[in-house]
Symmetry: D2
Subunit: 401 residues, 4 copies
């Protein structure tokens, strides 16, 4: 470990939504968990100096910079936490790994398979020097999700037959919602698919222990032109009927696909930003030969579990309130029934990351895991274009973590 | 109307599960609703004389027969109610329509598109003589479903963007469950797809007022060989490890598909008999630009409705208990909050059928409506075989009701 | 048994809401269950000749009368089914028992303890001649309620510590709702207390197998004066601001009380017609040392059961869909997941009543059971008047069934 | 304000469950909210030096002490945060107020009415010198609770008719659970009543804007003797059958009561630690003439609201996901649908406390508000002893905040 005196000095690139969530987690993790290293929130980076200075003060970072290369190369930094849009993940991660820094990179790993392959190869090389890399699929650390994984791994569901996963949001239903970066392909890579679809792909593969092998997909952009955001520039603008500048939406609003998993299960997936009334509805149901589980991120402290080996007259989906000390991550928090929130998944992620780095083991999900998600995203995109069943391209064996 | 003295004399073919449900409805409909005709439960038909005699006595039919042709041609019958497996629907319906009898035929309309086309053509011809034909997609008459249709038709959901529909059961998860007729292609036409998938296809098309135009599908048979039922014959039997005779499952256990609707919506569908713990979970969610609805057949007295035109701080899915006198079909039943059950959908169906026949209008869903469902089922099957997006074949215009 | 040729000839007094529900059940019971006797719907009685004639035709009774004494004394009647308001229960029941007729009497058994004592004594006398009497607490025969009872009786809840029971309705929230008979003490005995409070008293005593020993109660009449119903007469009318005739509400709108049960449990009860938005919300939760159960009449096909002997990490309230063949009453109905409704509780009640009468055993709840409920209602009323803890008066031992 | 350079230096007494929750909130509040003062976590106090030193390091306090008087009197402290058991609240608060320190005192305010009166009088005196005092009924700051209050205050519920409130836990169902301080009257004042009953009393009075005027109560101690905790001393110990030392439980395990509110509503309350399977189930339903609300602390991001002014066919309880920027406290947190947890209520509490102190206004709930809760607790205890309706004693007018 390149920590000094059991301190991990973190440098974070990006300070918007994800940056705020990560900051809360870095700040909290040592207050809740006994860990072999102490986190120091050393440096935060952003392009706009006054804003990043304000963010550093508010979020509690010791310093700030507008030059991510300086952050990445600084001797005062042990960990680089990448919270930027997807188009800069690859460049920053490659530089950080080359500089011998441990990397935590937000999901999706990259905007393209090619970038993800480069990053995975770089992580594999860096690993030989004891440098660790992890991708931030934080929902794996929601206790109910970890519990689902445990139930499947313990054989409690038997043979998995069905996965149905949706991630439903509604924040762009209004056609007057502006053309933010998440709606631009060059920045975001894809739309609902990569932003939230990536989460349900990773989560279901993680929970089932199975990989998606092929898909049939349809994608749609319901609103094809949107007003430019105030202060935007560099976009090919048109004018709408009211004379306002508009630009084309270049990503999907929604993506739906059916899939097969390598363990024999059938699956359906849906990622959309047009599910009116659904705010953050990541919902997963998994049916196996011996039982089923149901999870809903809007009620993330709960897991429904049906144990089909119980007597028929007593079977039912049990609403487990996942707040007991026996549950993953929870012995350090509050008494049973005192629920936790969205942000706690990041604290749990930082807990495992810090522990892995400090003890010299590889954190998960690895970049190779995240590359596999990227390959599924790519297969979805190609299937939608080809209007045909499309196999997921294999990751090269030498890249596997 | 071919009724005598405002009496509709019904002859029912088949007396198993569907026959019992229909009997309960025929017996009840005039006790609850004021209708222009009285139903007489005249004759029931089955192949096994002692059993059909017992059924007639128990279910309350005046007479019984083992010869469906005699029933269909009898001068004492005005309505033929077809409750047999799908492989006999076409022959019986054609004969009944030819004999000038009104026909109520269980769903799916037929086992093949070709049969459904013949039946639809026959219904169109018979219609010119005042003979009525209807297909028994009874869930259209669940009050909450009818209310959903009303909300969509009134524009309360705005433009429909998403349909997600599942019909989940689990009665054949056990590989020792025997090879009953519903698992044999020659009798049932298809498996989960035609049995329960047909319901969600019809229901969502009915509620949205849109038709499915194309699909990408995957189907699966998880358990490929099953024990023969006691007393079965005529099946190509093999023997399993315990020396018991087994036979091949020739239908799908599960079918999943993505689809487009002609109004621009994306949809996902899943029909399965392997969703452990789900007994009769027909669940539909529809998202529009102005609102959303959610329905679950296991809680059929409830409808969730989100009205996105309400102030943001008050928006939420409202659990409407669909038991008010203002709700469809309910003014004749119990006071608010006193729930109804599965069987009531049949009573409502008989109510509308009797009224239509007695007043000389066409009941819905027509055979043409049911043919359209059959065409979707066919597209699903072909898509799964071809591993490609498959357009739904159009019904010929001259057959449209 | 006084049946002839295994036929039970039923005469029903009253044909309004309860009469319609009972008729549906009498009509259905032999169609669903194999029973040792066949029900004949022989005679229905009401005060208004044209109306009762219409009701007889619609509900399917062979004959009608306006003279309940004629019905009660008729040689053509074996069973008298009393569906009138509470003020006539006693007189009719006493006459029927005296005439040797089996009696099924709607709840609450009577309007006063004195009447209930008379009826219970009469039932005890009649019993020696093989005449059976039962009170219509139909919710005991909701399958989920019967299942709750079974779980408690099997020791699955351990020692009962808490009962919380509410019965919430809202049909008189509007102060312009008229002064119907249920709001008049001389007709109804009491308001929410006797009408719906009686149900939760009986249900919780039945399920726990424990009796309420004392109560502290508060009752309230929120709207003290209401418009007279159209066509009403004989009420001491006043006139409101709009010149409409009004009269005083002489019963409680709501009653709340805490109680102790003889097995050591603490309990809370609430019966109200002013719970805006609650239509028929009979909800019961019972906590024991080993488990808990929750029931809601608006979702009467479901029972929540928590088994505290399960591993802590898996404990949760299981939503049992009470539609399996192993569940009470359900093997005769539809496949799993196909739900039943409110009216089915009456069919189940008639099933057990017919079987008891036909085989010469006493049906439950007996008049003595119903007297005990009346004694609790009386204690509640006295406690509210005295503003003090009030013991439930014991039923005399010689009356116990 | 006695802050220096817009810094509020906090000294916290006690560092167990409540101390950890408060620490997390003090640490977070300035990271999330823009406030007129910055919190400094200056000093934490506990009796055991090594333990408090460890707690200070872990929870992030600058210093620690074992002498609460030193903390209270220190010139380096502006705010005293009291997180100790109830028996020391009065002494510490009086000393802190006398020393001119702002006080945040955990609930219940005190173990007796007499103490609460002294504290309220002291707060009233200190207030004249600009010293602020607040009691920590943190659930007022759960956004859904604040939203309930807003709906009632805006008249959306109309006239309040019913309150039903329970607070259900189950952590001492096991009779072998040891005799911790919360089960000893001299330390805790009362059992479930003061610990969790106090919360529902305060919450419902806050939300309705009405005060409880009288109660009829029953309390119970189901398990009367428990094993002494390891290392306990000073308790009058007996020995159980296994030779283990046991002692008497001197507080209530459960308390149930009916009540009247000064605006005319009827209410039921239940606080228990014996509701098997209920971990932290604070549930409140309020029915008014125009609408109803329902809240459950185990799903604290949700509020159910029924608006009875909506058309009858569309009425239903709406599940509002209280995570919108328009909702109380939420614009500073995550995007809609990203839920918050139990601990956030403390952050919100600290936000309002800091703002009140920094801007020189009185925070709520005041000590006078908390005294009123204490008077209700006292009436409940007396009612249970007297077995009679008991009026809540009025707070003296001169003490009102």
């Amino acid at each position: 470990m390149s920590t000094h005196d059991n301190v991990l000095r973190v440098g974070m690139v990006g300070y918007a939504f994800m940056g705020a969530a990560h900051s809360q987690a870095w700040r909290t993790v040592n207050r809740v968990y006994d860990l072999p290293a102490q986190v120091r929130m050393a440096l935060v980076c952003g392009r706009d100096e006054p804003k990043v200075a304000e963010a550093a003060a508010r979020l509690g970072w010791d310093g700030h910079t507008t030059d991510w290369r300086r952050l990445v190369e600084s001797d005062e930094i042990d960990v680089v936490d990448i919270c930027t849009p997807g188009d800069s993940h690859c460049e920053i991660a490659l530089a950080a790994l080359a500089a011998g820094k441990h990397v935590l990179c937000e999901k999706p790993l990259a905007n393209t398979v090619e970038e993800a392959r480069q990053m995975t190869a770089a992580a594999a090389r860096a690993r030989t020097a004891g440098v660790r890399a992890m991708c931030g699929f934080n929902y794996r650390r929601v206790p109910a999700v970890t519990l689902m994984r445990r139930l499947v791994a313990d054989g409690r569901l038997g043979e998995i037959r069905h996965v149905r996963a949706v991630y439903l949001q509604d924040w762009i239903v209004d056609p007057q919602f502006p053309l933010v970066w998440r709606l631009q392909k060059d920045r975001a890579g894809s739309g609902a698919l990569g932003d939230i679809g990536a989460h349900i792909i990773d989560l279901t593969q993680y929970v089932t222990g199975q990989l998606i092998t092929g898909v049939s997909a349809v994608t749609e952009t319901f609103v094809k032109e949107r007003p430019l955001p105030a202060g935007s520039s560099g976009l090919a603008a048109q004018a709408d009927g009211n004379g306002r500048a508009t630009g084309p939406v270049t990503v999907d609003d929604a993506a739906v696909f059916v899939a097969r998993l390598d363990g024999g299960a059938l699956a359906t997936y849906e990622a959309t930003r047009f599910a009116t009334g659904r705010k953050n509805a990541l919902r997963v149901e998994i049916n196996g030969s011996k039982g089923s589980v149901v999870f809903d991120l809007e009620r993330l402290n709960e897991l429904e579990f049906l144990d089909a080996t119980r007597p028929s007259a007593e079977q039912g989906f049990s609403r487990i309130l996942v707040t007991e000390p026996e549950h993953p991550y929870l012995s350090a928090w509050w008494p049973p029934g005192h629920i936790i929130g969205y942000e706690h998944s990041f604290t749990h992620q930082m807990r495992d990351f810090v522990e892995a780095v400090a003890t010299g083991v590889d954190p998960t999900p690895s970049f190779a895991d995240a590359l596999q998600v990227q390959l599924v995203l790519d297969a979805v995109t190609r299937s939608a274009e080809r209007a045909a069943w499309t196999e997921v391209e294999p990751a090269l064996a030498e890249l596997a973590a």
